[in-house]
């Protein structure tokens, strides 16, 4: 933690940490505690007064079928996004580490979707799948599929999942490739001498050895799907049609800024905070302690 050799106590360190502490206090700790406080309040219809109601906001949420539905939808959405992008990235990384000489070129060609903002990714996909003009609906029609994500909830969900997963492939690919390249080649050579083919080597040696990376990426991708996909949802479906793509983060925004239900929105924020903290703790506890066989 602290250096063995360090400077003597003086007012200087306080000055050094002051900027970060000030920003943390004003923009993080104070608003977060406000969210906690507000989650115990109910405002009256005119926003004039508010009443302290203990856990009523949370009770309302737990008995609200819309909220519970949004909860499950978020879980399904994030699992789909994580699974799709990690699976795709795993396949690509598995092949890229075999193409020793080309690996770097392929990496260059695959990483840049990371730099595209989520809302832009949403815009690109919504353009490609535009029901009247888009390229994919045009081809899908030959297969008898009538694509309209403005009307069909399942298709809307598929579209946001694809857009979100597409953006995350680059990130997963980088980590998988790095993990695979750090496996000592002698292990794989030994397996090859014993007669294991490429597929067998992948499943019995490479895949188990990179399981810590898989676990780490699973947590990171879940957090990404929970929080950073707001832009995609906002640009592509705005939570619709109906509520078929309203995930938790979108609901917090919608209830708070559009519906002006401050107490309810704050209670939802608190639940989200608990979720993030849980995920972060899981990540810290288990990523450090390697998944081993």
């Amino acid at each position: 933690m602290l250096k063995r050799v360090h400077f003597p106590s003086s007012p200087l360190p306080y000055l050094l940490v002051a900027p970060q502490l000030a920003i943390t206090l004003i923009f993080f700790i104070w608003p977060a505690s406000q969210a906690f406080y507000q989650s115990f309040l109910i405002e009256d219809a005119f926003g004039l007064g508010s009443e302290f109601v203990w856990f009523e906001n949370f009770e309302v949420l737990w008995s609200d079928s819309h909220y519970l539905a949004a909860f499950w939808r978020t879980a399904v959405f994030s699992l789909l996004v994580a699974g799709l992008s990690m699976g795709f990235a795993l396949v690509l990384a598995g092949f890229a580490q075999r193409a020793v000489r080309g690996a770097l070129t392929y990496r260059t060609l695959l990483i840049w979707p990371y730099a595209v903002a989520p809302v832009l990714a949403g815009a690109l996909w919504v353009f490609m799948f535009n029901p009247t003009l888009g390229i994919f609906p045009y081809f899908l029609e030959f297969f008898g599929i009538d694509w309209n994500h403005y009307l069909n909830g399942g298709q809307a969900m598929a579209l946001v999942v694809m857009a979100a997963a597409w953006k995350q492939v680059a990130y997963n690919f980088l980590f998988y490739l790095a993990a695979m390249q750090s496996i000592p080649p002698s292990v794989i050579e030994a397996a090859a001498i014993d007669g294991a083919g490429p597929g067998r080597r992948f499943w019995t040696i490479i895949f188990p050895l990179i399981s810590p990376t898989t676990f780490f990426l699973l947590v990171i991708n879940m957090v990404y799907a929970f929080f950073e996909t707001f832009g995609i949802i906002h640009a592509v479906t705005q939570g619709g049609p109906g509520t078929s793509t309203t995930i938790l983060v979108y609901k917090v925004f919608n209830d708070g800024f559009v519906g002006l239900d401050l107490g309810g929105s704050a209670a939802q924020s608190v639940i989200l905070m608990v979720l993030v903290v849980t995920m972060t703790v899981i990540q810290f506890r288990y990523v450090e302690r390697k998944v081993e066989y």
């Binding site: 920003i23 608003p31 595209v116």
Partner: protein, 283 residues
């Protein structure tokens, strides 16, 4: 490669090329859309090969009226706003976390661990979950529609502080001992020894933070009501809404292209630093 079989080699490159095509397809379609005129972009099978209107579209998007039917700032101004926000966030984050990591690693002072834990908490609270109260704080401070309001609430981050703490802990103790024997004070040591030693880490972090800052969406959406403060990334959403009445997809996609060029350029041109930054900040 361990064995050299022509078929597996072919398969490897075939799968990778298919992957690259799948990943690049959305960007390619955007680029193609930016090279056609409005008329062509409204006929049902959209083109898959580029046309000849790229310069015209660029000129109209950057300096022209923009999209008809929307009240938007000119695109060059939005690009500038985005640049200012991204630069403020990345340099601000780097500066404050360098200083606080220095204090936490090199000084012994009362409440050192309290400070550390307060910073640590911010790791767990993305802006999305505390959005409403943070908005209220910024509104009360009168920072709506300003570069400060856009950037400062996003500046505090534990990840950067952690990374610099990690870097400083690997600096040998003898450095400080010899610096002190030579009569250097804390700040002299910081500027003349620690900063040069962590130069590549700073650069790697800058790449990541620049992309993070440039791509911010929800926060600028709430904080800016004045059209002259909008960022390029936000403007896409308004354009998509306007597209339902007057679909000028060529202009919309040219704007999207302009909005993604700076961060993509940063990632590609500084690939090595980018990969380093990514693996360091997240692990």
């Amino acid at each position: 490669m361990i064995e050299n079989r022509p078929f597996t080699r072919f398969l490897t490159h075939f799968v990778l090329i298919c992957g690259v095509i799948a990943v690049a397809l959305p960007i390619w379609i955007t680029f193609v859309a930016a090279t056609h005129d409005e008329l062509r972009m409204n006929q049902a099978p959209l083109p898959l090969l580029p046309g000849s209107y790229l310069w015209q579209n660029l000129k109209q998007t950057l300096f022209g009226e923009g999209l008809s039917g929307t009240e938007q700032a000119p695109v060059w101004l939005m690009l500038l706003n985005s640049l200012a926000m991204a630069m403020l966030i990345s340099t601000g984050k780097i500066a404050i976390s360098l200083l606080s990591a220095f204090a936490i690693v090199y000084f012994k002072f009362p409440f050192r661990m309290t400070c550390f834990w307060m910073i640590f908490i911010t790791l767990m609270l993305p802006v999305e979950v505390r959005i409403l109260p943070t908005f209220e704080v910024v509104a009360n401070l009168g920072m709506l529609n300003s570069y400060w309001g856009l950037s400062i609430p996003l500046i505090a981050s534990a990840t950067a502080t952690f990374m610099f703490r990690q870097v400083f802990l690997t600096v040998p103790d003898e450095m400080l001992e010899s610096a002190r024997i030579d009569g250097a004070g804390p700040m002299r040591f910081f500027f003349d020894i620690l900063l040069p030693l962590s130069r590549t880490n700073i650069a790697a972090l800058f790449v990541i933070l620049f992309i993070f800052g440039w791509n911010q969406y929800l926060w600028p959406l709430l904080i800016t009501t004045d059209t002259s403060m909008t960022t390029i990334v936000m403007s896409i959403k308004q354009m998509l809404e306007a597209a339902e009445q007057s679909p000028q997809w060529n202009i919309i996609m040219t704007t999207a292209l302009l909005a993604m060029i700076p961060p993509v350029f940063v990632v590609i041109s500084m690939q090595k630093l980018f990969v380093q930054g990514l693996t360091e900040t997240d692990k």
